[in-house]
């Protein structure tokens, strides 16, 4: 199984308990579980369904509806390149291509093999005045060029590299 530790169940249990086993709180519960494990493992979704007294197909239906939820493990850094209107007219598509090329992502691939980066697009980060923009794990970067965007990523790569040595 992909959850390496049974403690995941305990953790999930605490989260669900915190929300009073309330079925209406499914979304915040899944959000917290995902914050913990970076994705939603099936086993935990079955568990959530059990604890909330609902069906697994309902939990799966909700998890697969919202784009924030991910059923596959994502990278440690989630790069979200804005393709909102403001960014689009400022050529965000090229920015995205540059970032993907730098990370050598193949056409149908969004996550690097080392699970360090996942690249996605997002419709507006709320910083349209500084388009084009992207965010990495919630931190927003604006007025980007291909070069500055790649530089931000390179910095993270270097930092990660250093922490491994």
């Amino acid at each position: 199984m992909s959850v390496q530790n049974i403690l995941a169940f305990e953790k999930a249990g605490q989260i669900i308990e915190k929300y009073g086993y309330n079925r209406a709180k499914l979304i915040p519960i899944l959000q917290e579980i995902q914050n913990e494990y970076r994705y939603l493992p099936e086993e935990l979704m079955v568990y959530v369904a059990t604890m909330l007294g609902t069906t697994s197909s309902h939990v799966y239906g909700v998890a697969s509806f919202y784009s924030h939820f991910t059923l596959k493990l994502k990278g440690k850094y989630v790069v979200r390149v804005c393709d909102g209107t403001a960014c689009h007219v400022k050529k965000s598509t090229r920015l995205l291509e540059a970032v993907r090329a730098h990370l050598r992502l193949a056409e149908d691939q969004n996550t690097t093999p080392d699970f360090l980066f996942t690249v996605e697009t997002v419709a507006c980060l709320g910083t349209c005045g500084r388009a084009p923009a992207m965010s990495i794990n919630g931190e927003v970067y604006g007025l980007l060029t291909d070069e500055t965007a790649v530089a931000v990523i390179r910095d993270i790569q270097d930092k990660e590299q250093a922490s491994h040595e």
Binding site: F9, A49, T50, T55, S56, S57
Partner: protein, 665 residues
Amino acid sequence: MKTNQTVTVDNKVVPIEGERNLLELIRKAGVEIPTFCYHSEMSIYGACRLCMVDVEGMGMVPSCSTVPRAGMVVKTSTPEIRETRKMILELLLASHQGDCQTCRKGDDCRLLALANRLGVRDVRFKKKGRNLPLDLSSPSIARDPNKCILCGDCVRMCSEIQGVGAIGFAGRGAHSIVTPCFNREIAAVECIDCGQCTKVCPTGALTIKSDTTEVFKAIQSQDKYVVAAIAPAVRVAIGEEFGLDAGANAVGKTIATLRMMGFDAVYDVSYSADLTIMEEGTELLSRVTSGENLPMFTSCCPGWVKFMEQYYSDFASNLSTCKSPQQMLGALVKETLPDAIKKDRKDIVFVSIMPCTAKKFEARREEFKAADSPDVDYVITTHELALLIREQGIVFSEMEPEAFDMPYGFNTGGGVIFGNSGGVSEAAIRFTGEKLTGKKNEDYVIREVRGEDGVREVEYDFSGTKLKMAVVSGLANARTVMNGIRDGSRSYDFVEVMACPGGCVNGGGQPVSVDRLARKKRTEGLYRTDKMLQLHKPQENPYIKDLYDNLLGVPNSHKAHELLHTNYHARSRIKSDRIEQPAETDKLPVSICFGTGCFIRGSQKLLSQLTSFIAGNELEDRVSLGATFCFEQCDKGPVVRIGDETITHCTRVKAVEALTEKLHL
């Protein structure tokens, strides 16, 4: 102001009489609005947009989700509406993948029918099929998501009416799909095989899993002796496939047809329904006397049985131990026929003809096998039988009625009404009532248990013995009743549950009727048949008497138990072999069950206790903790497996004891 409570529909004035939407009112006016996503018994979904009509001052509105208001002027067909409907169908057809010529839905496809009715002759959009895999895992239903138009009918049926929720929407937008959780195969999830979803599905996305080819092969094979057995509800519905009225009893024609097709013997499942009453009634009487395992639940509906095993296994011992009529007959035939006709058990093929898709699942249950061959070899539904008949070109309507083969062809009215909700209860009362009072009862009709409601409660007093009963159909209703029993707010002695709303007359394998009153007419058909028969009480069936005299002795005898009874057990809802930890060779594997049963019995607390015990004794390197879903012993939860030992009703003390022993602490 009664007079003003009207709506004008296409120049016709129609009174508003409590219709919850315009659609119902327009139907009342005699106009058949095309729809895919509206079913009167389910919630309004509003997704197909076909039901749009023009209301003066409002423009085009969906009639299913518009409340009728006095004075509305409705047009159901304007050029705009016509174009819109056509375009909707064009859009659907463009994303539809499959050939009508080879489609499992055959003539029942509403998409095809509507495209024809609305005169769609051209699809101007690009074809955009999705090439999703078929799911043929289930014994009862087949899924082809490429044909799904996402009307959601099946989803609402499964959750709102059946209370199961085995399938649901997943994904979003153009990626939406109706699927079991995590895109698993349907056989791996909690589907109880009732087939109700296939009945509401307008397309070939959900269909009955067909076994006709196997049956055809068996009939054709020279060395097989092929027995057909017809269920009660089949006879009042099969005619609809051939232009007869709903509810007309066509059993004679069916028998004749089956003989013509080459079946060697044709028996009646009503016979074994009579037998079921003898066994189940006797069981009820002894439980009432002893007061044990009450309420007793009927066990003749395999959809309900699986539901019970999955969700209410703490009541598993309350299920009657009787096999269903289908399984009783299969077991009897396979037991007695080899001697009678001098053939090996393996050369006798038992085919049952059922209103039911869940029976296909039931026939495959491990419990119902002997000497490696199943008691019931194949189950085909009413609808599949009709397909076989048509395939062979037999003109059903012109067949001269024939009679069943004996001995398993003789029935009483009690066995016949098994086909509708309340029938089992009524037959059971006809039997137990006489047993308890010791008096013969001339009037056999028990009106109180009849009716259309999904939950009906009745109470009887038979010479001082009170029997409180509930008649339930539709599993969402069963859920309500079971929860009530569990929390003590309801109590009964006997509960009849039929998975399908209205019982088997409305089974998942019955013809999909255009007649909205079909279910009611079929039920009436069964009561009419009962009335026309000479005998109404199972205990009066002479062939049943013979059976006890010659083979079984008395009801609930040892022999009867061997042949006609079984046991039911807890069953996990979602098959998951994936959560157990990979065995780490030098560690002691400990698995805690996190299924519902164990969860409500405290597995989470147990986990905290065990982790703190392990940490406190620094055993992390010696124990590998894992989780699992359901050891299928949910009623004895929490269940923990330590090494190869399974501990039920596990507590901290028990677990620590086992750990201490196994780790030589």
